[in-house]
Subunit: 351 residues, 2 copies
């Protein structure tokens, strides 16, 4: 009551479901500066981390029985979110350049989930020709492209490639970003850039889902973006992560030499280490042995679609390095080498 005369204290009413105008303005500038993304403030929807961004997309853009393209191997959590609507995943293989778009061309689907900046987990950067193929596919099938730009802040040996969203004819792209990899995953702040025609649907969905993202985090992030603190922090984090990546590459080389083949290290916060000569059958053994020595390792095989024939022959580990310092990395690699040696020895004994 009496809303018009009351001038309520700022925090006693619900805010815009798409997020605070201040934060969206700050993100608009940031996305332009850092990712060449041009968008209207109204196209930005602040969400509770990229997870909720995926969830909104799945609820709005997929119906039960629809098909959606997933990179294989790929981010399985996205598959779970999309499949929760009753939609059906269509896995498409990935090579060193990311998603095999020639194969996508033949597929009838409603949506494709892609990580063109840094394929998760293999690390390929999608070449521009493939990007155009993907956009043409989306146009032809009236399909949506969910572009998850989850760790684009971190690139070392490569030049940043602008997102799909910046290309002409990107009207079917939903761009997804997060601060989970730059500030903290427990902040739960991410953002979508949605096509103009979907704005009101996303606003309505976000309102139904939880009204809006908490204001506190939004205001803090807006202040960081406005002052330049955020970009300064990202630069420092990039330098630190580059050092940690270097430590991991060196430690792997020192401990394993040519036996380990590294993939996808040019960007992001993880790499994939393939252990030549360690057959996939030894994977469980390696995980158990490493764990018994106090090292948690994450094999890549669960990131492959379990129904398809594409499967690695040898053990591959997804190794994140951003949360570890050089000493921890060194120690972890030593213990991992011990574990591999133990398994080798066992294999020789039982032969």
């Amino acid at each position: 009551m009496v809303a018009a005369i009351s001038r309520k204290p700022v925090h006693l009413a619900y805010d815009d479901p798409c997020g605070s105008l201040r934060l969206r303005r700050a993100l608009q500038g940031y996305l332009w500066r850092s990712r060449s993304v041009r968008c209207h403030v109204d196209q930005i929807v602040v969400v509770n981390g990229s997870q909720q961004g995926l969830d909104i997309c799945s609820r709005l853009l997929l119906d039960a029985g629809d098909r959606f393209v997933m990179e294989d191997p790929g981010y399985q959590i996205a598959k779970v979110v999309f499949a929760a609507t009753g939609a059906i995943a269509v896995p498409v293989p990935v090579d060193a350049d990311g998603l095999d778009t020639k194969r996508v061309a033949k597929i009838e689907a409603r949506l494709a989930y892609v990580t063109p900046s840094h394929q998760y987990p293999l690390g390929g950067v999608l070449p521009v020709a493939r990007r155009y193929e993907l956009l043409a596919w989306a146009r032809k099938h009236d399909a949506w492209l969910i572009e998850d730009d989850y760790d684009s802040e971190y690139r070392y040996d490569t030049k940043p490639v602008p997102p799909l969203q910046t290309l002409q004819d990107s009207g079917r792209v939903v761009y997804l970003g997060t601060v989970s990899k730059t500030l903290s995953p427990t902040l739960r702040v991410g953002y979508l850039v949605v096509p103009a025609g979907l704005q009101s649907a996303f606003a309505a969905a976000k309102q139904v889902m939880d009204r809006h993202t908490p204001l506190l985090e939004q205001e803090a992030l807006a202040a960081m973006l406005e002052s330049g603190t955020y970009e300064g922090h990202v630069r420092r984090a990039r330098r630190r992560n580059a050092e940690r990546r270097e430590s991991l590459l060196q430690a792997l080389h020192r401990r394993f030499g040519d036996r380990v083949r590294v993939e996808g290290a040019a960007a992001g916060l993880h790499l994939v280490a393939w252990f030549e000569g360690l057959p996939i059958a030894a994977e469980d053994d390696l995980v158990r042995t490493a764990r018994s020595k106090g090292v948690g390792v994450y094999p890549i095989s669960p990131l492959f679609d379990q129904r398809t024939a594409v499967r690695p022959d040898v053990v591959g580990l997804v190794m994140g390095y951003s949360a570890l310092d050089a000493k921890q990395i060194e120690k972890g690699c030593k213990l991992l080498a011990d574990a591999v040696e133990q398994i080798d020895r066992l294999a020789n004994w039982t032969r």
Copy 2:
């Protein structure tokens, strides 16, 4: 990688989807002290405000084509959330004691959304006999009861009534609370107490939806609950809101005398003012006229199900008072009286 030896800084990993253990422990104690709710810590799921609580319930407990009972008049936003699954609302009339459970008894449905502590919007407190009827209905139909305890902290003339959740045989009750009415709606913190058998489903759904509620707000609330600051704040807010309620009751009486009949003022943060002799047909006129004088008023009629015959004869306004001080309330009521007078005059002229 190397998770076990790394001892990651607290905020560099995702947290429990059900919320921080510290907050859930603090809520467990608070719910016991303030609402006689006894539950295991694992039954508590921290959500982004009650809106997300409703959304999780709708996604887990309803399928397309299912029927759900809604109080009529009732909280229409809940209806929107439940209906988003494709389920069908079955409106059941409300009287001065809340939901008419005799009518519910005849209905086959999968879920009922209820506000037994303070019916929204009419303010009735559901008598214990009706509560048992509701529980028996749920048991008979294998239906779920969503108990929205949205403003139970605020009661003035009435004794607090323990929630449905505290009664025997409440295994089909999902209890929903929020700090939106005590701290701020922009914090986006609420909590569910779910039946033991649903724990893992709720945890999985919350994880898919947005991993977890932001940690910052959870830690702040936990600290407030542990130190007693929260309950002190609620006591102060209750006193302040009791004063504001008194101001509104007095201002309404002074300006309108017997013409206004007040309903549901014994608890909560709003009351319903019925304007005797002001036919429902004059509602739009009143809203417009009041707005032209700078007073925003919220008629009750949109809170009735639009398809049923139950409808008010006279204009009723839902008047929230917690965000207004005595002066604003006085001024608002004066302007509202001016608006009513203007409409009366016009009605006489055109007669």
